[in-house]
């Protein structure tokens, strides 16, 4: 009897290659790791299929899970059709094939599992634990964001409290860059919890195969619901199946049957099936002559087989060339061609200008109604504005040019800050720019809120991208008031956004408040 070649090594190698390719393509902005900043281009309006935090410096697309939570938590209070459509499309086209082949975090888990240690095998307990991700999906991805939306407080609960991909790809990557040293001020109990959780998951992945995918990932839970009917994936032909159970025994995840909601379509069961009942879905679309007729002669069978092999070879070459072309184009575009538009403060046309307030201490706070942290700290700024109204202190809040689908600032101010002594202005955005102009000119790199405290000569005394408490703000305002600026000549200073620089000025429009 002719010995059959084992399919396993070839398939595992190909799968690893596709995983690496997908990870590189979804994180093609390698320049971002070198500069410590995230990508700002329009490709981020499209969601990648796997779990890849959009705060990762390399990410060139949006995370589907994060975008879904933000869409559900939006105070726009409309159905998030765009996000639902994208996720539905991924579910029906790819199902959990994404988990097995395209997800960067899945690749990290696979590589960690290769470390040579004793492994915890699957059992009835792990099967029960695998339903926990559905609980997380319902509560953290759907219910909590919706509940907080009713309170006008956006809260992407899974991203905030659980997601290790955000901690690893976003926080760690950004914190490792010297330019982001000010971010260390923002670390606190939340980071401690998330960091400890991330470490636990990564260490656990060494011992438990795909720990995160099997027990925690809500995205996998969602994709798994469509696994049986997805276009791509693994299928089991019941007619050929003899229920020997070798596929289930071989599989490292908690399937009951090949292709069920736990199956990540890695394809490792294909090689162990004695009756060749397991195959890839979708093969008939490309190879209509997949089935060799039973009554065909030996010569006809050979001819069909040769024709099929030739077609497979041609398709492979075309696919490889296309994939290499796409990856090369992406890497060149994102790293060498794309340039974010410069911030030009001369384009402003409003009536507010920080130069008009020389002689007073100015507190500038950049915020947005879509930013829960910003809204949390606004009462502290309001209090400072009231208490220091007669003491040469001006508090001006600069809202983002857009609202990203959230509440308009005038409505929010009318509801929560009516009668406030703060000044409310709006920033300006140039078409094609990722950030608002004044925000960018004052050193903004995507973090909100951002606060600057200027002394009475317009020099930046304090600059932070962390949320501020009343006590912290009070300390900075009092320090600016107490500062002796008699020897400072603003005309001799460099205009910039570092402490000690003269704050740039720009004409900004006041927000029309509701009477």
């Amino acid at each position: 009897m002719k010995k059959e070649k084992s399919l396993k090594p070839k398939l595992t190698f190909k799968r690893r290659l596709i995983q690496l390719y997908a990870a590189l393509l979804t994180n093609a902005n390698i320049k971002g790791f070198a500069t410590g900043s995230i990508f700002l281009g329009n490709t981020k309006s499209a969601c990648v299929p796997g779990l890849n935090c959009y705060s990762c410096p390399g990410a060139v697309g949006a995370c589907p899970l994060g975008s879904l939570q933000n869409a559900l938590a939006s105070t726009k209070k409309t159905v998030p059709y765009y996000m639902l459509g994208i996720i539905l499309l991924y579910c029906i086209m790819l199902g959990r094939w994404i988990c097995g082949f395209l997800c960067p975090f899945g690749l990290i888990q696979d590589l960690l599992h290769k470390i040579k240690t004793p492994k915890l095998k699957k059992s009835r307990v792990t099967r029960i634990l695998s339903y926990f991700k559905y609980v997380l999906l319902v509560f953290f991805v759907v219910i909590i964001p919706l509940a907080y939306m009713l309170k006008d407080m956006p809260l992407p609960a899974f991203c905030k409290y659980i997601c290790p991909a955000g901690t690893l790809g976003g926080a760690i990557s950004l914190l490792l860059h010297p330019n982001n040293a000010p971010m260390f001020e923002m670390l606190g109990p939340l980071f401690t919890w998330k960091f400890a959780l991330m470490i636990s998951i990564l260490v656990g992945c060494v011992f438990i195969y795909r720990l995160f995918c099997r027990f925690i990932c809500p995205l996998g839970a969602l994709y798994g619901l469509f696994n049986k009917i997805s276009v791509l994936g693994i299928k089991l032909e019941k007619k050929k199946c003899i229920d020997c159970g070798l596929c289930v025994a071989k599989c490292k995840v908690d399937i009951k049957e090949v292709g069920d909601h736990e199956c990540i379509s890695c394809g490792e069961c294909i090689s162990v099936c004695p009756t060749k009942a397991i195959s890839w879905k979708g093969s008939k679309i490309i190879l209509p002559e997949n089935e060799i007729p039973e009554k065909a002669t030996a010569e006809e069978k050979e001819a069909i087989t040769k024709k099929r092999e030739k077609r497979v070879f041609t398709l492979r070459i075309i696919a490889a060339v296309l994939m290499i072309a796409v990856l090369a184009t992406s890497l060149v575009y994102f790293n060498f061609i794309y340039k974010a538009p410069e911030a030009n403060t001369d384009i402003g046309t409003g009536e507010f200008n920080v130069e008009d307030y020389r002689g007073k201490v100015v507190v500038i706070n950049f915020w947005g109604t879509w930013c829960s942290g910003c809204k949390k700290e606004l009462p502290a700024f309001d209090r400072i504005a009231s208490e220091f109204e007669d003491k040469n202190v001006v508090v001006v809040t600069v809202h983002t040019s857009g609202t990203e689908g959230w509440e308009e600032p005038d409505i929010y101010i009318d509801k929560n800050l009516k009668g406030s002594k703060m000044l409310f202005v709006r920033d300006v955005k140039v078409e094609g720019a990722a950030f608002d102009t004044y925000y960018k000119a004052l050193g903004g790199n995507g973090n909100y809120p951002m606060t600057l405290v200027l002394d009475d000569k317009g020099v930046i005394n304090y600059h932070t991208t962390a949320e501020m408490t009343y006590d912290e703000l009070l300390a900075e305002v009092e320090a600016a008031l107490a500062k002796d600026t008699s020897g400072i000549n603003p005309d001799e200073l460099f205009e910039g956004y570092y402490i000690g620089d003269l704050c740039p000025s720009m004409d900004l429009e006041f927000i029309d408040l509701i009477d």
């Binding site: 329009n42 981020k44 309006s45 969601c47 959009y54 705060s55 949006a62 995370c63 994060g66 975008s67 933000n70 869409a71 939006s74 409309t78 059709y81 765009y82 996000m83 639902l84 459509g85 994208i86 539905l88 499309l89 029906i92 086209m93 470390i115 040579k116 240690t117 004793p118 059992s123 307990v125 905030k160 955000g166 976003g170 260390f184 001020e185 670390l187 109990p189 980071f191 960091f195 400890a196 636990s200 990564l202 260490v203 007619k239 003899i242 229920d243 020997c244 159970g245 025994a249 004695p274 009756t275 879509w370 990203e404 689908g405 990722a434 950030f435 995507g446 973090n447 991208t465 962390a466």
Partner: protein, 261 residues
């Protein structure tokens, strides 16, 4: 081969221990940095002071991982010799011999296995109870001790204790169930018998009844419907501003999402 296996296993256990220690150290380091920092919890000096210890452990772990990889390629294990899995290509005679052997083992050691199972059941239940009790005690301790939320150090300790105690409970339960789960030879024997049916040309394959398969048409209909709905949603979403909302959020660093508050 046995010596190689021993070396592989020892390497595996040491790597496992170091990975766990490095992981716990990283987490503890993070807590220590936060607790000790005072006004500036995560100052560069504090981070530098503690991280170097973790880096040393990390380097040791990495070296052991690399050693494990080199070991795997330089001194490979012959898995066929180590594993007694049924090979689809064995002859009928070998399959029959294997089956008989398994049946004999089962018959002779049935009593012994039952006795051992009862003993292990008691031991594991005891151990799991202790671990679970420890975990519950830790949670009660964390919640009952009077830490005020403004006391950040206490808050961090409380959260850490809570997290580790959850891990204890979870670990205890998993351990208990794993030990208790029945190791069944039945599935392996059934698999071997099925293979015997295929390998033995004298025994006809079981007859599968002919059924009309309507499933593909329904599945294709479902697919086409869902794809149509998905595309319609995407187009609708683009026109009502959903796409620009996604872009607006994605080009900003979500400090909440990455744990920076």
């Amino acid at each position: 081969m046995k010596t190689r296996l021993k070396i592989h296993n020892i390497t595996a256990f040491i790597t496992a221990a170091l990975v766990i220690i490095t992981g716990i150290s990283l987490a503890a380091c993070c807590i220590a940095i936060y607790v000790s920092g005072g006004d500036q919890p995560f100052s560069r000096e504090a981070v530098g002071k503690y991280l170097k210890y973790v880096m040393i452990q990390g380097v040791a772990t990495l070296e052991l991982v690399i050693f494990g990889i080199v070991l795997k390629f330089a001194f490979p294990l012959d898995k066929e010799k180590l594993r007694a899995k049924p090979n689809i290509l064995v002859t009928r005679k070998k399959l029959t011999e294997k089956l008989q052997k398994r049946d004999e083992i089962l018959l002779r050691t049935d009593e012994k296995i039952n006795r051992e199972k009862k003993y292990r059941k008691k031991m594991s239940l005891g151990l799991a109870s202790i671990i679970t009790a420890l975990g519950i005690a830790s949670i009660l301790f964390a919640t009952l001790i009077d830490y005020s939320v403004s006391d950040i150090n206490g808050y961090v300790i409380k959260v850490s204790v809570f997290a580790f105690s959850l891990a204890f409970i979870g670990g205890g339960l998993i351990y208990a169930y794993d030990i208790l789960s029945k190791k069944s030879y039945k599935r392996e024997i059934d698999a071997l018998k099925s293979l015997l049916v295929i390998a033995n040309s004298d025994v006809p394959a079981p007859e599968m009844p002919e059924t009309k398969d309507r499933k593909p048409a329904l599945v294709n209909l479902a697919r086409v419907s869902i794809i149509t709905v998905a595309v319609a949603f995407i187009v609708l979403g683009i026109f009502n501003g959903g796409m620009s909302d996604v872009l607006g959020k994605a080009v900003r660093i979500c400090t909440e999402c990455i744990g920076l508050g």
